[in-house]
Symmetry: C2
Subunit: 391 residues, 2 copies
């Protein structure tokens, strides 16, 4: 009765684990949720009233598929100031969270059996979004500096029907790693020999706690092949479901076309609320507040891990974003570890979910944005205790 693609779709581990962790006794490093105590609720009251006062009928009416013009213009301006990406509103498509950008990209580019090149590991929900269109994945190995370019080169040379390259160069989900400047340049140099669209997924780029900001791949994009995704979910709030695509018009008009059949347009009210917030308040100040809190949480997590974890455990030291990545000794399977940890009321996401072709069982992802410092310390201690039981 169902389409063939349904055979390959399964329930997201993270979603299922999050259901268990709804129990408040569980200290969950599993999700990727922002800290809700930082949401500007009082400001949003004023914003909602102002939008309804000034243009209530428009905010509650059908709107254009491309998105509301003032917001598209504000985003184009922000793309310049934050990422040095030159664009106009005509390059901006508003989407219902950047997850929708992944779905629309699958619809736009992927036929059954086409190849998506991605980092190994990569973002879980990108895997399921592309799989729904029959994508196969070729994973390119990564290290602390990003994608291994020599491997990328070999795969590009030897593989036909690569339809898409999907990367997260800033504070990657799940590893928290950021690509070095050299890798970015080499990546763009190598890929520029091909006519393959590149999705640069960048939900976390503005959340840099320390170190130098590195240029987006899109700033090296002389052929207009980089499709840049971002979102208000991590720098503002996710519940309004507003993200955007920045792309050359040859791509943007196609995205608009597929979005039209997918959900007509993104909530007019939400678009106008975010636009009005940016007009009335200081989004940058909000981002600074988020960064301060997340930096402290990352610090306390890393400090506690240093104190509590056996030396055999390796982990990344992200300079921003929401996640870090743990590599266990090969004899510890992360799924087994999770089951034991849940008995002690602590949770994380086993890393194998982030490898589209599977096979890596000794990694896990930890989130530090959604938990108080005390809970982070307590949670890491619980996790360390269970890990030590394997020794």
């Amino acid at each position: 009765m169902f389409a063939k693609r349904m055979d390959s779709l399964k329930v997201s581990d993270i979603r299922e684990i999050l259901k268990i962790t709804a129990n408040p006794q569980v200290i969950s490093f599993a999700g990727g949720l922002p800290a809700p105590e930082l949401f500007p609720i009082e400001e949003m009251k004023n914003v909602a009233l102002t939008v309804l006062d000034e243009a209530g009928a428009e905010a509650l009416q059908y709107s254009t598929t491309e998105g509301d013009m003032p917001l598209r213009k504000q985003i184009a301006t922000r793309m310049k100031s934050k990422f040095n990406i030159h664009s106009t509103y005509e390059n901006i498509q508003i989407i219902s969270g950047s997850q929708q950008g992944l779905d629309l990209s699958g619809k736009l580019f992927i036929d059954e059996g086409d190849v998506v090149l991605c980092e190994s590991p990569t973002y879980l929900a990108a895997i399921s979004a592309f799989k729904a269109y029959g994508a196969r994945f070729i994973e390119v190995s990564t290290d602390d500096n990003g994608m291994i370019i020599e491997e990328l080169e070999k795969i590009l040379e030897s593989t036909s029907n690569i339809k898409l390259i999907y990367v997260i160069p800033d504070f990657q989900n799940p590893t928290g790693r950021t690509w070095s400047l050299e890798r970015r340049k080499k990546f763009m140099s190598v890929t520029s020999r091909y006519e393959i669209p590149i999705i640069e997924d960048n939900p976390y780029g503005e959340l840099r706690f320390e170190g130098e900001r590195l240029p987006a791949l899109k700033t090296f994009d002389t052929k207009g092949m980089v499709i840049f995704f971002s979102t208000f979910s991590k720098i503002f709030c996710p519940g309004l479901r507003i993200g955007w695509i920045v792309a050359d018009q040859k791509f943007l008009e196609k995205y608009t076309l597929v979005k039209q059949g997918t959900d007509l347009h993104t909530s007019s009210m939400s678009q106008r609320e975010i636009s009005k917030f940016m007009e009335l308040y200081d989004l940058d100040a909000n981002v600074e507040k988020i960064k301060r809190v997340y930096k402290r949480r990352r610090d306390i997590m890393l400090e506690t891990m240093k104190e509590e974890f056996p030396d055999s455990i390796k982990y990344t030291h992200p300079q921003g974003g929401l996640f870090l990545w743990v590599e266990l000794p090969l004899y510890i399977k992360a799924r087994d570890l999770l089951l034991r940890c849940l008995k002690d009321n602590v949770a994380f996401v086993p890393g194998d979910s982030f490898f589209p072709n599977g096979g890596v069982e000794n990694t896990l992802r930890l989130n530090y944005s959604n938990m108080s410092e005390e809970r982070i310390v307590e949670g890491i201690k619980r996790l360390a205790k269970v890990i030590k039981e394997y020794e």
Copy 2:
């Protein structure tokens, strides 16, 4: 570079025409927009404040894919009271407007080349949603009482790979027609011999101006094969993009799975706002207000058509909803008529867009919900004048 499906997708006529009709001098019967002057803007201010006061952090945070529980429960209750459909929250999936239900259904059921059975004509945006998944359409003829059951029977007997039956039995878009009780019963009797999912798309059912309410197909659904869609877009406001699916759990859990990869979840804030509106105010009273206004607009449109149109022009007399359907003499092509009408600043949608396999050129759709009575009279006069030039 693009997926094969993109070859068959084209820009929606309605969207393109609506761009022209943004000019306020144009009297447009082309869209399907609700009357914005009826949106409860003052109430929405109170609703937004209350939601942010009572649960601001939750309203701005990520939420579950299924949708917020209180809203799902309210919808289940409303399905009983308005459509006599028995369900619990476990049968309700919240979606980003009922258009998303069409997209998710394509993803869930349609492989390249599969057949969708539909009314002839049918809803334009359903055609593009299903085409994106490679659907072929077989159109079943309709008359004033709905789908011709004998034809449906023959097609079902003689066609393999029918994956979906898509119908709009109440105040259909584009014709405004409503299926008779007898047709509903026969349709369910005939289709119950097959294991084919049936989408009953019902955005307009509550907007009945006169005549007896007829039971939803889903009330005759003994095998759990009817998937019922509805939306707040026509009974409340469309800008928040909130619709829902009512279905057996065997379907519902699959919808949840595909929605997860598509956009994670629908705006938490919008869901809570609608839920709070239904708690604090009387949605039924809002629906009554809408019905009174639309009935007057339909009446004045029909009266003016009766006075102004030549006798050779046939048109439907809808008992509710937003649209009526005009059949011109065969020698008048609606696309040609539209080009002439645009010079006189009046617009409509040519009917051929609503036939998935094309070929019918002498029909058009008129919308009466979005225009004042004066403008309706003036617009119909202009349209009649151009039509008379063909005589």
